[in-house]
Symmetry: C2
Subunit: 293 residues, 2 copies
DNA sequence: GATTGACTATAGACACGGTCTATATCTCCT
DNA sequence: AGGAGATATAGACCGTGTCTATAGTCAATC
C-alpha cells in the first residue's frame, strides 16, 4: 500500500508543471514554504530526489521526470473526473432510465419527458418497456432509476408516490352504435365480444376480479398485446375494448369510439411512481420526479 | 483548480473497490469512522452522493460509478509510479548515461562498467562518445549524467573528481628498432615522422605546448582519428605515435611496439570525472561514481 | 419477536502536522 | 554593491484528520 499522502502528488504536479515552487504555491493557494515543505516530504517518503533547485526555480531530475510522466496522467484523469462530476451535479450530463408501459409513456409521461429534455438536453433518456414485475426487478437491479406503473404496489423495498388517477372503461366503435346512450348491465355486456389486454396487466386483473365479484366470469373473445391494438380492434367493430379512458380521449372526441355506460362504477386506477427505498436517486431522476409532482 | 483534497480520492478508491467502509479502513490503516467521515467530506465537496449505504456495506451510485471509472485509472497510475520509484531507488531500473572518449571507455571504464552491469542488470547503460567540449555541453543539456575526460577542467559549473593518472609517451614499431634503448632528445625526435591524434584532444594540445616551451614546433606527419589507428600506424612503421602508455600496454608487452625514451619528462595526465555542480545525481550515476573511487 | 452480528453514522476530544510568517541564503542581473 | 527573485529553514499556531465510544440500522437466526 502507498505510504504517500496523495495530496503531495498534487503539489508535485504543479511544481513540476510550472517549474517553480512559488508558481505552484500560487496555483494551489498556498505559500511557497508550504510547497517547499511538501516537496521535501514527498522526496523523503520516496527516498528519491525529484527536483534540483536553482535560483530560477526547480527542474525535474531524471527520476522526477519518470514520476511526473505518471502523475501527470493521473492528475489529468482526476481533473476530467471533477469536471464530469460538476456536469452531473448541474445536470449537464447523465442518464435517466425509466421503466414503464408503452401506453403510460405515451399518454402520461411524454409531456414531462419533453419538458425535461428541453431543460436538460445533456441528459440521455432511456425508456424501458416491461410489465410491472419486470420493471420492479429492473429497479432492483439498478437498470432503471424509477418505474411508472399502475397501483397498488406493495413491495416493501419500494417507495411509491401517487401519480395521476386514471379511469378504465369499455369502448366500442360504430358497429355497436345501438349501445350508445344506453346504460347496460354487466350481464348484458357479456353478450358482446370483449377485447382485453393480453398480458397480466393490472387493469385486466382488476376488471376480471370485478366481474367475479358480481358472480360473472369475464372471458375475452380477443386478446391483444398493446393499447394501440385495443383501440384499433374496437374501431373496426371486432368487439368491445376495455381501455383507459384517458388513453382514448382522441378517439372519443372524434367519434370513432364511444364509451359504454354501465350500471356499475368501474374502479379508478392510480398511477404510481416507484423508486427504491433507501437508495439515493441520481440527480437526474430526483429532478425528474420533482417535476412530475 | 480542484477544491478536493486528493487524499480523499484514495479513500474513495478503496471504499468503492472493497464495497465496504470497514474494509477500506483496514486497507488504509484507519478506523471505520475516519473513512466514513472522509467519504462524507468528499460527497459534500462534490455536492453529489457517491454511495448508498446499507447494513451490508456500501455500493456506488450512478454518479459514484462515473467517478470511480476515472479514479480507478488514476489510482492505478499512481501505484505503478510508486512501484517504479521503488525500482529506481533500489537501482532495479533506470539509466546511466556516460560521456567520454572511446579509448577511455575501453581502457579505463570497461571493468567498472562490467561490474556495475553485473550487480545492477536492470540499469541501462549509455556510452556517448565525444570530445571534451562536446561532453561538457552534453552534461549541461542533461544528455549524460557524467563525463570522463582528461584533466584539467576549469568550467565553474562542473565538479570534477580525479580519476586514474595516465602517462602519455611516444612509441614506435620494429621499423625504428634502432631507437630502442636509446635516450633521445626532443630535437632528434622531430627528425622522425610523428603521428598524432587528429582532433583537438587534450593530449595533443599538451604535447604541442611542451615542444613549444622548448622552442620547437611539433608538426605531425600523419593525423589519425582514433587511438586504434595510432597504434596500427606505429606498428606498420609509418612513424612515431604519441599515445597513452596505459592504452598500449598489450602492444608494449608483446613487443610490437616499444616506448621511445626521451631526455625530458613528459607530463602525466589525469583522468577527471565530471558532474554538474549543484545538480543531484541520479541514483544510478551516484552509485557508479562511488564505485570508481 | 428477541437476539446477535455486521455495518455505517454521529459526537466529542485530542494531538499531529499542515500552513503561515519571518528570515536566511543563494544566484543572477543591473 | 545592491536589488530582484528564487528556495530553505525555523518556529508558532490553528485546523483538521483521526481516534474512542456510542448509537442506529438492517438482516439473519434461533
Amino acid at each position: 500500500m502507498s505510504i504517500v499522502n496523495h495530496e503531495l502528488y498534487k503539489v508535485f504536479y504543479w511544481a513540476a508543471k510550472t517549474g517553480s515552487l512559488s508558481q505552484a504555491a500560487k496555483a494551489l493557494y498556498l505559500t511557497q514554504p508550504s510547497v517547499s515543505h511538501a516537496i521535501k516530504q514527498l522526496e523523503e517518503s520516496l527516498g528519491i530526489t525529484l527536483f534540483y533547485r536553482n535560483s530560477k526555480g526547480v527542474a525535474l531530475t531524471q527520476e522526477g521526470a519518470v514520476l511526473y510522466s505518471y502523475i501527470e496522467k493521473s492528475h489529468i484523469l482526476i481533473s476530467i473526473a471533477e469536471k464530469k462530476m460538476t456536469e452531473l451535479k448541474n445536470l449537464d450530463s447523465g442518464e435517466l432510465k425509466i421503466g414503464g408501459s408503452e401506453s403510460l409513456f405515451k399518454h402520461y409521461l411524454l409531456p414531462f419527458l419533453e419538458e425535461f429534455h428541453q431543460q436538460y438536453p445533456g441528459i440521455g433518456l432511456s425508456l424501458i418497456h416491461g410489465t410491472t414485475p419486470e420493471i420492479i426487478s429492473y429497479l432492483k437491479e439498478g437498470r432503471v432509476d424509477l418505474g411508472v406503473v399502475r397501483m397498488p404496489i406493495t413491495d416493501p423495498q419500494l417507495e411509491v408516490r401517487e401519480g395521476i388517477q386514471l379511469q378504465d372503461c369499455f369502448v366500442a366503435g360504430a358497429h355497436y352504435a345501438d349501445l350508445k346512450n344506453k346504460v347496460i348491465t354487466l350481464e348484458m355486456l357479456l353478450e358482446y365480444p370483449i377485447i382485453l389486454f393480453s398480458r397480466n396487466s393490472r387493469a385486466r386483473m382488476g376488471i376480471t376480479e370485478l366481474f367475479h365479484g358480481y358472480g360473472y366470469e369475464l372471458k375475452p373473445e380477443i386478446e391483444v398485446g398493446s393499447v394501440g391494438l385495443l383501440i384499433e380492434c374496437a374501431q373496426k367493430g371486432l368487439g368491445i375494448s376495455y381501455v383507459t379512458r384517458e388513453f382514448v380521449s382522441k378517439e372519443l372526441e372524434d367519434g370513432s369510439l364511444f364509451e359504454i355506460q354501465l350500471d356499475v362504477q368501474l374502479p379508478p386506477s392510480q398511477v404510481g411512481i416507484m423508486i427504491m427505498r433507501n437508495m439515493p436517486l441520481s440527480r437526474a431522476a430526483n429532478q425528474f420526479i420533482e417535476r412530475i409532482k
